[in-house]
Symmetry: C2
Subunit: 274 residues, 2 copies
């Protein structure tokens, strides 16, 4: 049986919240193939009507009801979209009523506030954290390390850079990172200049076979990418992290989100952005 459904994410904003919520639900249905379409910035009746037509056309084409996940604050737009022949779930519709009752106050029903750039302090904080992480990527600068909230260490290609950027963009956290290199293993010490910031260090490790695979894609058949070298580097790095008693995790089977969240928790870092 070939199960296949089209899913629409409809939003008065970017659609990112609707996508994230919808996606987390859809992953619970294995064996169904979901074709996903995002319809963002639905902020007029005309645009709502366009969405309804698009969804209706897809229902006709597929011969089965599409699924619609929406975050439409404005009831008028919701009513238009919901006239489409689809299985519709709206996150505001579902939760705002009970929340209002529980809090004993009315909501503002304000469109597009959920990710508004108008919260300038948060926005600035994210941008500054991105600048910080860019300036402190891959051991590129020892300046201002006292402003780092966490300093990631690990062998080349263990996931440090994406994690730092995610920490900056998502949480406004200043994150630096340093590679652990064969030179460091020979000296049997963390990179120079880091000993003062020991309590900020957090390690990333990775399974040697996975590391070798990743490095092969970059430098095929190099010593750098060979399984033996990867195993040696990973073992040396893990030994160093253990000896120096810094916290570390294995990134192999973790998503960027999981690694970043784990670091916040383990290092007791307060995020600056919600």
């Amino acid at each position: 049986m070939d199960l296949r459904r089209t899913v629409f994410f409809v939003s008065d904003g970017t659609g990112i919240t609707a996508e994230m919520l919808g996606h987390s639900l859809l992953t619970q249905f294995e064996g169904v193939r979901f074709d996903q379409v995002t319809l963002p910035f639905v902020s007029s009746l005309e645009r709502a009507e366009e969405c309804r037509e698009r969804i209706a056309a897809e229902a006709d084409r597929a011969g089965v009801q599409p699924i619609v996940f929406s975050t439409l604050v404005d009831r008028a737009y919701r009513e238009v979209v919901w006239r489409a022949p689809a299985l519709c779930f709206d996150f505001f519709e579902t939760f705002i009523g009970p929340l209002e009752a529980g809090l004993g106050i009315h909501s503002n029903h304000t469109v597009g506030r959920s990710h508004s750039a108008l919260d300038m302090p948060e926005y600035q904080r994210r941008i500054e954290a991105v600048n910080y992480s860019m300036a402190h990527d891959d051991g590129s600068s020892n300046v201002d390390l006292d402003q780092a909230e966490v300093i990631l260490v690990g062998v080349s290609r263990s996931g440090k850079t994406p994690t730092c950027l995610y920490l900056a963009l998502q949480f406004g956290v200043n994150a630096a990172n340093y590679p652990l290199t064969p030179e460091d293993f020979d000296r049997d010490q963390f990179p120079r200049g880091l000993h003062r910031y020991r309590n900020k260090l957090f390690g990333l490790s990775i399974a040697p076979d996975r590391l070798s695979e990743i490095r092969q894609a970059r430098r095929p058949n190099s010593r750098y990418a060979s399984f033996d070298n990867c195993r040696h580097e990973v073992q040396s790095a893990e030994r160093m992290m253990r000896d120096e008693a810094i916290r570390w995790i294995d990134s192999t089977k973790r998503s960027i989100e999981e690694i970043a969240t784990t670091i916040l928790r383990e290092m007791r870092i307060d995020r600056h952005v919600y």
Copy 2:
């Protein structure tokens, strides 16, 4: 009246989905101050019990029920957490039933699948896009520009770098960026090497007073940061983007998410990651 509530985000995963849902709802209640606490990785009955105690202690302290937004797939954990004296909303509880009915199939009830690193192709795609964006930040390389899906141009500090990184991390999109500098304005041309990629160009502009404010924070009292210079640069950049007929938007009042989503839409770029 000083309205204040503590909000807990409880999840068997990172908590990011619960936060996003909760946050988008809470922004609808202006005038209430929400103190936000995330309790991630609730993947045992013991940890669920810890959460219940933490929430109950907060209810005692505050003298008012906290709000709990949870994404707990496992019903047993949910039942423990929900014994806390709080206003509880669980996202799976609410939607999985109706979705199962609508689809006519049962869900897997699998914990933590929503952001699993196990989807290796998607994960790799994000990492590669991050590498690409890092290597093509701020006009740093003309190599492999044919692999760019979008090339952002704009004056220094108009938001190009965070937008490129967000496009890479969130959507797996290869995004390069080039600054538009006084030298380009004198030549009255886009940076050298970009004319071949005209159909990939997308511009970011920004209000001169905002730009001046951002630049002041970096180089106080410089000519670079002066309002007159910022106005001149912005006017020159906008004129060039108009003359060359490339698409562009004003980033001043838009969040990184909004800018990135708008670019995907305007450039008709298919995201690689959901």
